[in-house]
């Protein structure tokens, strides 16, 4: 949409934008449209200057100072318009009027979402965590083991049955991040993505950078909070079953066992996988007052061990002094993080995966093609391959889309 780059129309259009720092770059977006673009620092300076009431020429001059060379403010604004950031919308509270699909989460009123993150709610989360710890300490038999994955005699059925359970639990975790963001009044985006080689659901809380740091913790720990609540409910149910207070079908008890395993794994992951920018990383980076600790730490560590290429040296130099100071020791947490993930994998994932791999291999090589084990193994192999290679394919698709300008 063409934009009038003079006077009041421009200021009105720019006022709808939010600007947030995202690593070494800046994100400029329209929460009401769910549309964000990454811009260099001079672009962010230009927009914030306009939002502060400066004229385009003054804003361009400030951006030029930051860039160290002349920038074309009109061209930049035109580019934002071409990206759709100046689309007219009736109000940000009525996204349906844009004709875009309504994200159901946007319909959740912040006041409603705040009920889930009020004092009583936090008391509930704390109580749930206490219940979980107490049960695990006092009733060790309720702690999860990797065997819980095999809750049905047929391994293929067990894994296939677990896929939707796992997806639901992950989605619930991310949804709570989402709601916490909504409670803060920021829009959030839910998406399927990858983290390392794992397929994950993610909530984009980019806009949270526009809120005070002390308010951000709720959004960062919200996922673990709902994990604890679910875990406490499931553990209480299993305990009541063992105490003969309630009766359950035995298979349901074992299904709850695999839920415990999934939730404990999820919580441990959020605590340990700091080097993969998990929830724990977000909490630490926020507490340490950093903006781009992730890249600063990787680059600092790489510099110590192998040296940096010119582009990386430049990137590290552009990161704030504070982040670089923290990064000098934060590498230790990355080391601990790697160890935590190895422990997690060896304790829960590797034994199950080896058993599964051996069964699949032996069934595919020795069972008759007409037999059920052969086809079950083939189906499982396809599932595992999708889990292993799916994220890589997604990443490639995202990269191609980004290069093609279809993903910003």
């Amino acid at each position: 949409m063409p934009v009038d780059t003079t006077g009041s129309p421009l200021h009105t259009a720019v006022a709808r934008l939010v600007v947030g720092r995202d690593g070494g770059d800046y994100v400029v977006g329209r929460p009401d449209l769910g549309l964000y673009v990454v811009v260099p620092e001079p672009g962010a300076v230009l927009i914030t200057a306009l939002q502060a009431g400066a004229g385009l020429s003054v804003a361009t001059a400030r951006a030029s100072e930051v860039a160290g060379e002349e920038v074309d403010g009109v061209d930049f604004i035109t580019g934002l318009g071409a990206a759709g950031l100046f689309e007219t919308v009736a109000t940000s509270g009525n996204p349906a009027s844009t004709g875009r699909p309504v994200r159901w989460i946007e319909a959740v009123n912040p006041r409603v979402a705040r009920l889930l993150f009020g004092r009583i709610a936090w008391l509930g989360y704390g109580l749930a965590a206490a219940v979980v710890i107490a049960v695990f300490v006092l009733r060790p038999e309720l702690r999860p083991t990797f065997e819980d994955v095999w809750f049905l005699p047929d391994p293929a059925a067990a894994l296939l049955f677990f896929v939707p359970i796992g997806a639901f639990l992950t989605a619930l975790h991310e949804m709570w991040h989402w709601l916490a963001g909504r409670a803060l009044g920021v829009a959030a985006v839910f998406r399927v993505s990858r983290r390392g080689v794992f397929l994950v659901f993610e909530t984009d809380l980019t806009q949270i950078v526009t809120t005070p740091r002390r308010q951000r913790y709720a959004a960062y720990v919200a996922g673990v909070c709902i994990d604890c609540v679910g875990l406490a409910l499931v553990l209480t149910t299993r305990l009541a079953y063992r105490q003969e207070l309630i009766d359950l079908p035995p298979v349901l008890d074992r299904v709850l066992g695999v839920v415990v395993l999934a939730q404990v794994t999820s919580i441990c992951w959020q605590v340990t996988a700091v080097c993969l920018r998990n929830d724990g990383y977000a909490v630490l980076a926020n507490a340490l007052g950093c903006h781009n600790l992730y890249r600063a730490t990787w680059l600092t560590t790489k510099d110590r061990l192998f040296g940096l290429r010119d582009a990386e040296t430049e990137e590290l130099a552009q990161i704030s002094d504070h982040d670089r100071r923290v990064a000098r020791w934060f590498g230790i947490t990355y080391l601990a993080s790697v160890l935590g993930m190895v422990w997690l994998a060896l304790s829960f994932a590797v034994p199950s995966l080896i058993g599964l791999a051996m069964w699949t291999w032996r069934s595919l090589t020795s069972a008759a093609v007409s037999s059920a084990p052969f086809w079950e193994s083939a189906a499982l192999l396809a599932l595992l391959a999708a889990q292993a290679f799916g994220p890589a394919l997604l990443a490639r698709r995202e990269r191609l889309a980004r290069r093609g300008g279809r993903l910003l």
Binding site: E147, P153, R242, E244, P250, M358, W359, A367, S371
Partner: protein, 241 residues
């Protein structure tokens, strides 16, 4: 200190930390990982002080569902031998589970409680209560072809019950759970000689001079026909047949 020297110091320090810590993690799980691939191997144990009867350990590789059809075991239900590469979670199973799965549960140190089709309802309820009490240790499942109502199995150990006996089941579970986990996990403390390995053909030592009652007890504990055990002058023990 030059940049190159500093970099090498960082490399050596980081590599050392990773090697020590990751190595420790892997070593602690090494037996589980290798056994998950190959199955387990361990010497026989008689351990006559323990509940139930010792059963000689068969070669116990991980095999496919197709291959297990041709497996032959030395007891019913089996207590060792070829089994599936995946295990089953402890718990109550209303339908029979394959021998290959039950064996893997035993290989992980669990107790598998089998019951015959005609078991009485009170006995079954009592077994279910125990399975809930020892929920991390017991796999409870029917085994229609049993000739006795209840059979308790652990790795290389079996006990046959004509009816529910809480004390006997509880003792079996408490003494034998976790005794084996891809290998023996602890000594049996049955006194001198009692933990010696079974040979093939099975030889039960320390019975020289035993009377007929002792020989009968040994036969029963090993599941041999009474009268098939006698003193063995050559080995100063007693042997079968």
């Amino acid at each position: 200190m030059t940049g190159t020297v500093r970099r090498w110091l960082w490399r050596v320090g980081t590599a050392t930390c990773l090697a020590v810590l990751l190595g420790t993690s892997f070593v602690s799980q090494w037996r589980l990982i290798t056994a998950s691939v190959t199955g387990s191997v361990a010497p026989d144990r008689v351990s006559s002080c323990l509940p139930g009867t010792a059963v000689p350990i068969l070669p116990s590789p991980h095999v496919s569902q197709a291959a297990i059809a041709s497996a032959r075991y030395n007891s019913t239900p089996p207590t060792s031998g070829p089994h599936f590469p995946f295990v089953i979670a402890p718990g109550i199973y209303p339908d029979p589970i394959p021998d290959g799965l039950a064996l893997h549960a035993m290989e992980h140190g669990h107790i598998v409680v089998h019951y015959a089709a005609g078991i009485s309802t009170p006995d079954l309820e009592a077994l279910r209560r125990l399975a809930k009490r020892y929920s991390r240790d017991i796999v409870l499942a029917p085994y229609p072809s049993l000739s006795t109502p209840i059979v308790l199995t652990a790795w290389a150990r079996i006990d046959r019950l004509t009816g529910f006996d809480e004390s006997r089941v509880t003792t079996f579970v408490q003494r034998l759970r976790g005794r084996y986990n891809h290998g023996w996990t602890r000594p049996d403390d049955c006194g001198p000689g009692a933990g010696s390995a079974l040979a093939a053909p099975p030889v039960v030592p320390v019975c020289a001079g035993s009377d007929a009652a002792d020989l009968g007890r040994i036969a029963r504990e090993n599941g041999w026909p009474v009268g098939s055990v006698g003193c063995c002058p050559e080995c100063a023990g007693c042997c079968r047949g």
